[in-house]
């Protein structure tokens, strides 16, 4: 049997973007689409939240995608098969909302978000819905998990900023096309804040049910500390406990984006320290 939190497989999906399968049986037995874990890389490490992109309940494994953004994620992607994460706790947060819809479901992923929407795409499809996936990246080499997206969606619309594949531009260009073409009754967007905001603005006039997964800074991830406070519908909500998915039309994205910068100065110092060690 593998060791607890041992890395079973490791695959580079794109530069600085690694997909891991990890032995974490207590997480694997209960996790559902839209939920996340918190991990630590080392005993002096910080806790960072990471979405789940798949699992194997029999094997007791979970699948995550980490994009190096700073100190901890950079340390995480250096781990090799057979290495262990220090801690993994989950599942955290609530499952993404799924239901039988009278129109199309559009699931939008940017960056690691492409992995995060896969389980929910599968769930929506199992309920008999038509599911369209829109995935965005800067260029075609950065588009993730295309085969798997094709498998769980009825249609996949890639968008790239440089037009190297699919629609040239942003995910919203893809979304506009779908809305024009057919009745959309559900949108779930996971990715960078500006993307989730733009998607929510686009669906607002038609009143399309729109969910966004808020990537607030977190510590415990269980509702105990309030680090992940967001304003939704004018009320303070804890992203880890009440979310991470919220009604995109009610989220104060400006606040979320500003709060993500709370530790900018420290993050730079922490990354520099790692770089010094590596040199």
């Amino acid at each position: 049997m593998p060791k607890l939190f041992e890395i079973l497989t490791r695959e580079e999906l794109a530069p600085k973007t690694i997909m891991f399968n990890i032995f974490a049986p207590t997480v694997a037995r209960a996790i559902q689409g839209g939920q996340f874990i918190i991990l630590r890389v080392s005993a002096n490490g910080e806790r960072i939240p990471i979405s789940i992109s798949g699992w194997n309940r029999n094997e007791g494994s979970i699948r995550i995608i980490i994009m190096a953004a700073g100190r901890t994620s950079a340390e995480a992607i250096m781990l090799k098969v057979g290495d262990c994460f220090q801690d993994i706790v989950g599942p955290l947060g609530k499952r993404s909302h799924v239901e039988e819809l009278d129109g199309t479901a559009v699931l939008i992923g940017g960056g690691y978000g492409t992995g995060a929407i896969i389980p929910t795409a599968r769930d929506l499809k199992a309920l008999g819905n038509k599911v369209i996936g829109i995935v965005g990246a800067r260029n075609k080499d950065l588009l993730l998990l295309q085969d798997e997206m094709n498998e769980v969606c009825d249609e996949v619309i890639p968008t790239t900023n440089d037009g190297s594949m699919g629609i040239e531009g942003f995910v919203t260009h893809g979304l506009a096309k779908v809305i024009e073409r057919e009745k959309v009754s559900y949108v779930l967007a996971v990715g960078p804040v500006p993307m989730m905001k733009a998607v929510s603005e686009m669906t607002r006039p038609n009143g399309i049910q729109t969910w966004v997964s808020l990537n607030a800074i977190m510590v415990d991830g269980t509702g105990m500390c309030g680090a992940c406070r967001c304003t939704v519908g004018g009320k303070t909500q804890f992203a880890c406990f009440h979310g991470p998915d919220f009604n995109g039309h009610e989220v104060n994205f400006e606040e979320l984006q500003a709060r993500q910068k709370m530790f900018q100065v420290q993050e730079k110092i922490a990354l520099e320290q790692l770089n010094e060690v590596l040199v």
């Binding site: 997480v27 801690d87 415990d220 509702g223 309030g226 680090a227 804890f238 709060r259 910068k261 420290q266």
Partner: protein, 488 residues
């Protein structure tokens, strides 16, 4: 010394002055995280214990939620039999080194101590601390005897003082015990709330190690209600015969005022967790960051607020506590207030924050307060603060809310069968501490809202006894009666 000790009459004993615990000076204290009290010497301890009148009808024990035989242990201290003293305490209290440090004795045993009627009460807490430290420093701790295996297994959820005590009591009775903890280490608020300068980490770790040596299993990184439900734990998959819930406090309370989500504003839970669980005071060697400015405002005047203020001071800030009532109403213990005031912390009483103002980067820069005055007493019996109409503005770059917490909602949320009151407090049978779900018992902050270490321990002992009865008596029935009363 022992043999020469005079036999004193009660009247003479009453004349001896209370031995105060030597403390580090405030100037020295704020430079680090070392403990404030320095501990008794053996001589000081014996002299202090000598003051006990050995009352026929001792009142001190009435004030102790775990019922320590206080006169008996004091007698042994007086005789210089420190090993005997700690053995006496251990009959009823599993965490004496912790309780000796963090119990509010002035509201418990020392409040009811008969010597205290005419003189200052016995320094019971400090003596408990002394003998517990003596035991640890002299390696006298013995693994308690464990009864023959019963074949039953019990899950304990949470490793705060309630969970640790329940695990101890259940294991001692011969049950298999597994403790599930959401974090990566045991201790609950003892670790991520109470500061190091009041409770050093190695003391908690010793107690956890003792449980491991007794054969208690610890499963970290496991969130009951998320990783697994109570029903699954009681099913064949996990095979537990009963469950104890000690999940403590949850969502921190905020004020719902303008600007409270600005950067630089923390809850006490977040602030203390970053420092004491994650070690952010040693950033970047420990990777968890803390962004503390030079001017820190602390909102509230309870014990947690004092802990936060004193921590911020140690990290180099100028600290001001804002509280909407006056000093007399401050919920913090007198000793905690005194320590904070000695440590150069500013207090602005009758100051009610109404708004925070930030800069263009969304960082807090100013706190706006209503000046208050005290009116008629409210429901709590304390005089109600009302605005005078005047306001003031202070510059701050960090604010920490210390207004208490709501009860942890994770388990009731995932198990609707667990009945709570409207504040989320888990309701229990007051005698057995069984919840509305058969075989599931609870104790600690989860059934009281924010309370004390020792009450959590007292409840855990009661619950462990009930669980034992529930498991071993074939006739045991579900003892919860659905009723709309507040628990304990």
């Amino acid at each position: 010394m022992k043999d020469q000790k005079p036999k004193l009459k009660p009247k003479e004993k009453m004349k001896i002055q209370r031995t105060e615990m030597p403390e580090r000076t405030a100037e020295e204290r704020v430079l680090g995280f070392g403990e404030v009290p320095l501990g008794f010497s053996e001589d000081l301890a014996e002299i202090e214990a000598l003051r006990c009148l050995d009352c026929k009808d001792p009142k001190c024990m009435v004030g102790c939620p775990v019922g320590i035989d206080i006169p008996a242990f004091l007698k042994k201290v007086e005789d210089g039999d420190f090993a005997g003293a700690i053995a006496k305490i251990r009959e009823t209290n599993f965490l004496p080194a912790i309780c000796g440090r963090v119990c509010p004795q002035d509201q418990q045993c020392e409040l009811t101590c008969i010597v205290g009627k005419k003189n200052k009460p016995l320094s019971i807490g400090n003596l408990e601390r002394f003998v517990a430290d003596y035991e640890r420093e002299h390696g006298l701790r013995v693994t308690p005897e464990i009864e023959a295996p019963t074949g039953f297994s019990v899950a304990v959820v949470g490793s705060g003082p309630a969970g640790l005590t329940a695990a101890y009591e259940l294991r001692k009775r011969g049950h298999e015990v597994t403790v599930y903890e959401a974090f990566h280490r045991a201790g609950g608020v003892l670790v991520y709330g109470i500061p190091r300068f009041r409770l050093p980490l190695d003391i908690i770790d010793e107690d956890v190690k003792a449980l491991e040596e007794m054969g208690v299993n610890f499963e970290f990184n496991t969130i009951i209600g998320k990783s697994m439900t109570l029903d699954e734990m009681l099913s064949k998959e996990f095979g537990f015969d009963a469950i104890f819930i000690g999940t403590g406090a949850g969502l921190p309370k905020m004020l719902n005022i303008k600007g409270e989500n600005l950067n630089g504003i923390y809850s006490a839970n977040e602030y203390l967790t970053r420092i004491y669980l994650m070690g952010a005071d040693r950033f970047p060697d420990n990777v968890t960051p803390l962004n503390q400015g030079k001017k820190v405002g602390v909102i509230g005047a309870g014990n947690t607020a004092m802990d936060v203020a004193r921590t911020a001071k140690r990290l180099g800030a100028e600290v001001t506590v804002y509280y909407r009532r006056s000093k007399e109403e401050a919920p913090a213990r007198t000793e905690e207030l005194r320590h904070a005031m000695e440590e150069f912390i500013n207090f602005k009483f009758l100051s009610n924050p109404v708004e925070f103002v930030g800069d263009e980067d969304y960082f807090v820069k100013k706190i706006v307060c209503d000046e208050m005055k005290l009116g008629e007493p409210d429901d709590s019996g304390r005089r109600r603060p009302t605005p005078t109409g005047k306001q003031f503005v202070d510059e701050v770059d960090t604010v920490i809310f210390s207004l208490g917490c709501n009860v942890n909602p994770l388990i009731p949320d995932s198990t609707p069968e667990i009945v709570t009151n409207k504040w989320g407090v888990v309701l229990v049978n007051e005698e057995t501490l069984e919840t509305s779900k058969k075989g599931v018992f609870a104790g600690g902050d989860i059934i009281t809202g924010g309370a004390k270490v020792i009450t959590a321990m007292g409840q855990a002992k009661i619950a462990a006894r009930s669980i034992h009865h529930y498991l071993t008596e074939k006739t045991a029935k579900h003892t919860y009666f659905a009723k709309e009363v507040e628990s304990v």
